[in-house]
């Protein structure tokens, strides 16, 4: 499964970067979201996969022993997902606002901030 997930992660990264390289603003958002997914899945995978046994102390037991999924990467991903959501929400609205204000979603038409210096 690690192999498969590595494939998935690679594809997510590739697709994310590909979309970020588009001229269409909305595609860029999708690209960023894919990258977030990719990073989360990456942390999950490199934190080692453990099938099935979640990190819960069983009722009645004092501690969890044996084989179980590493809870730390999960906690990290949780934080990252939530943060990612905040950023994503902001970004989506930013892009919409930009579209409404500038009247285009073509990023190549947004060059006024980088206007080359005049002679």
């Amino acid at each position: 499964m690690t192999l498969l997930l590595a494939l998935v992660i690679g594809c997510l990264y590739a697709a994310g970067i590909f979309l970020i390289l588009r001229r269409n603003m909305v595609k860029v958002i999708f690209g960023l979201i894919l990258l977030a997914h990719a990073a989360n899945l990456l942390i999950f995978t490199v934190g080692r996969l453990t099938k099935g046994i979640p990190a819960f102390v069983p009722e009645g037991a004092g501690m969890l022993s044996g084989e179980f999924a590493d809870p730390l990467p999960q906690a990290l991903i949780l934080t990252a997902i939530v943060i990612g959501f905040g950023l994503q929400a902001f970004t989506i609205v930013l892009f919409k606002r930009t579209w409404l204000t500038l009247g285009t979603e073509d990023l190549d038409l947004m060059k006024t901030t980088d206007e080359p210096p005049r002679e």
Binding site: K51, G52, I53, P54, F56
Partner: protein
Amino acid sequence: MTIIEFSVNTAVVLIGLSILVIFVRLAIGPSIADRVVALDLLSANAIAFIAVYSIRNNSTTFLDVGIIVAILAFLGTVAFAFYLGKGKKP
């Protein structure tokens, strides 16, 4: 192999198959509503899968996720409908 083992294994395969089939509908559409319906059905499959998987893995923790999936899938569907219906009719 006991009956329960057999049925769990078969169930997993059947759910997997139906997920693939539904995905085809999701991919081909043709309308947005078709895709939304497919998505809704996918999440239903997910709930079923979670239930079966809890037996398979001998762990009940996942059932809670099922409830959330049910709630959220509904909400998602309603949201899509909201989109489709926006400004269309009374």
